[in-house]
């Protein structure tokens, strides 16, 4: 028995007889709103069809997904009309809960497909869409004040409406502070690691300290850097340099250590010089470690820049925007900034992961994935 689908149908059936909102004194029923009833019925029909056919594989999975997407329109059209839908609108919320079961079933069927990269993107995308959808329906349905939590549509409107301000903040924080700090911090960590690697004494002295540093809340140096380097991007870059230096140092050292004696002996039998061994054997072997550090540092860098901006900035920048607009209760702009920071952070990480994939294609962790 297909329990999630059955749950969806039972809840929808119940919902059809319950009020879905109210206008003034009178209750609103599904029959009052054809624009909502039709998608709800279509999605129920698809659920019944699937319940009878019990199909599996890509085609039924896509069908069920379409059913969820169509059914999701019903609450959206309902809430868009000017009427109230809080706890009294039992029918509406039962339907939304049922839709949750339906969406769960769709994700279950999708993840059962033996597919490649596309499926591994579709399932989390569906999950994310479902979360966004719940956020939208609940904030608008219960009319949660936008000071507390603006709906996704409001945030989207804020992004579109304040494009130039947000672009300026992005340029200041991401392009000027993060990228320069990231490049300097990772570059210096890498160079120092290569130098230290030549001197075993230094290596034994630095490695224990490097792992101690990971326990230290380094962001705390932000106020000091702001004092030393002023309010502009230089102070943020300095914070990022300090934050990213040690992960890079420790990881590169570990990576340079990863080459086995066999490989080193082979290079020696070729009469390879230190630099040839470094360039052709040890650095390629260290790449997975180096990319590990780069990925860790990409998130650290954004955090460092935004936190440093809490301690003082010129009147532009993401951290500045967040702390001032929170004070002014313009929460939608705050969320818009956070959304942009999230997209920028994920994109930064994604690009690094992509470069890693192309440069370390030989590594076992990728080889097995393709197999």
């Amino acid at each position: 028995m297909d329990r999630p689908l059955l749950a969806f149908l039972v809840l929808t059936l119940l919902a059809l007889f319950l009020p879905i909102g109210s206008v003034g004194e009178g209750d609103l029923y599904w029959a009052n709103s054809m624009g909502a009833l039709i998608p709800a019925l279509i999605s129920a029909l698809i659920a019944i069809f699937q319940l009878i056919r019990k199909g599996s594989g890509p085609v039924p999975a896509i069908l069920v997904t379409i059913g969820v997407l169509v059914g999701a329109n019903a609450p959206l059209t309902l809430i868009a009309a000017d009427s109230s839908h809080s706890f009294g609108a039992l029918g509406l919320w039962l339907y939304v809960i049922g839709l949750g079961f339906f969406a769960w079933r769709a994700m279950e069927m999708m993840s059962a497909i033996k597919g490649g990269r596309i499926i591994s993107l579709v399932v989390p995308a569906l999950f994310g869409m479902w979360l966004l959808y719940l956020w939208q329906v609940i904030t608008t349905g219960f009319q949660i004040p936008s000071v507390l939590l603006p709906s996704p549509s409001l945030i989207w409107a804020a992004i579109l409406g304040n494009g130039d301000i947000l672009a300026g903040d992005f340029y200041q924080t991401f392009v000027k502070s993060v990228l320069s700090g990231f490049a300097m911090g990772c570059g210096s960590g890498f160079l120092v690691a290569i130098l230290v690697d030549k001197v075993p004494f230094m290596q034994r002295g630095l490695l224990p300290l490097g792992s101690l540093v990971s326990a230290i809340p380094i962001v705390g140096i932000a106020p000091i850097m702001v004092m030393w380097f002023g309010f502009d991007w230089q102070s943020k870059a300095a914070v990022i340099v300090v934050m990213t230096f040690f992960p890079m140092l420790v990881n590169t050292l570990a990576g340079l250590d990863a080459t086995s004696h066999l490989e080193k002996d082979l290079m020696r039998s070729y009469a390879a010089s230190y630099f040839q061994t470094l360039l052709f054997v040890r650095l390629p072997n260290a790449l997975p470690f180096i990319f590990n550090a780069l990925k860790i540092n990409s998130t650290l860098a954004l955090i460092g820049a935004i936190v440093a901006e809490f301690f003082g900035t010129p009147i532009v920048g993401m951290g500045f925007r967040i702390s001032t607009e929170v004070g002014r209760m313009n929460v939608d702009i705050v969320w818009a900034t956070i959304a942009i920071a999230a997209v920028a952070g994920s994109a930064f990480y994604g690009i690094l992961a992509l470069v890693e994939r192309t440069l370390t294609f030989w590594h076992p962790s990728y080889r097995s994935a393709r197999g």
Binding site: F127, M202, I216, P223, T337
Partner: protein
């Protein structure tokens, strides 16, 4: 001779050498960074100065650009050992406030992280749908949301520990989830098959095989998580406007240009971080020896 040999080729002497050179660089840096202010001061007041006096003054300024280590040591001694720990000027008081937020957030993050990991290991749909978001959640500079969470929860009448702990929780659930997923999946096919030949139920496999196997992974990630949790608590104290806690000390220090105060708060925070990680390590050792692991 052999003792020297052991120290030199072990870690003790190299670490000491690095630390010593750091201290020397620090003192030199203090002179270098503070000299401009001092020299312009001398010239304004027509004081004759020589290098010895300059160095002396650079290491004992009231508001130096970079305080010398012994100044910080004096300040820490004053605020940690000389003040009553209930006093608002005591760093122990502020450190305790931050620690309590850290530990609460750490506990919440631990519970959340373990629950997510259990779900991800047992339900395939969650593995495919939720796991990518768990990873993506960390590419988001979450600390950006810190002021939001503080202000919004403040509006709802929730202040004090909880908002800070929520930030800590968000930061530290991730390593725990990742570590626990790895740990709960670490039993190999042979062991799982053995459990199946005993006709063990899913919950028996979970409690008797998966959980014991995951303990080393759990502690490895707990040590990472507790350090990040501290960062979360400190940053969580910034937007509240310098009331109490180490973050507040940092903020008020930066408002009033009290560099010595900032540095001593920073040192205390570092010691705190190391103590927390060390404590996690001690608990790890105790649990692992009781479980019969050889460390």
């Amino acid at each position: 001779m052999s003792l020297w040999h052991r120290l030199y080729h072990g870690k003790t002497i190299p670490v000491l050498a690095v630390v010593l050179s750091l201290v020397v660089i620090w003192y030199a840096g203090a002179v270098y960074l503070n000299k401009d202010t001092l020299i312009s001061n001398y010239e304004r007041n027509n004081v004759t100065w020589y290098t010895g006096k300059l160095i002396d003054d650079a290491w004992s300024m009231e508001r130096p650009i970079l305080p010398a280590p012994h100044q910080i040591a004096v300040e820490i001694n004053k605020t940690v050992f000389q003040k009553k720990i209930t006093s608002k000027r005591s760093l122990v008081y502020h450190a305790w406030i931050t620690t309590s937020a850290t530990l609460l957030g750490f506990a919440m993050g631990g519970v959340l992280g373990i629950l997510l990991a259990v779900g991800i290991v047992h339900v395939r749909t969650l593995d495919r749908s939720l796991m990518p978001w768990v990873i993506a959640s960390q590419t988001i500079p979450i600390l950006a949301i810190a002021p939001m969470i503080i202000v919004v929860l403040g509006n709802m009448g929730i202040t004090g520990l909880l908002p800070k702990s929520i930030i800590s929780m968000y930061l530290c659930f991730f390593p725990i989830t990742i570590g626990m997923v790895k740990g709960l999946r670490s039993p190999d096919v042979l062991q799982l098959d053995l459990m199946r030949t005993y006709s063990a139920s899913t919950s028996q496999i979970f409690w008797k095989l998966r959980v014991p196997a995951s303990i080393p992974f759990l502690f490895a990630s707990l040590k990472v998580a507790v350090a990040i949790s501290l960062v979360g608590a400190i940053v969580g104290e910034l937007p509240t406007g310098a009331v109490a806690g180490i973050g507040a000390r940092l903020l008020s220090g930066s408002y009033y240009g009290q560099t010595i105060q900032i540095w001593s708060a920073l040192i205390v925070a570092s010691v705190l971080g190391m103590l927390l990680v060390y404590a996690a390590g001690v608990i790890e050792k105790l649990v692992m020896t009781r479980m019969g692991y050889r460390i």
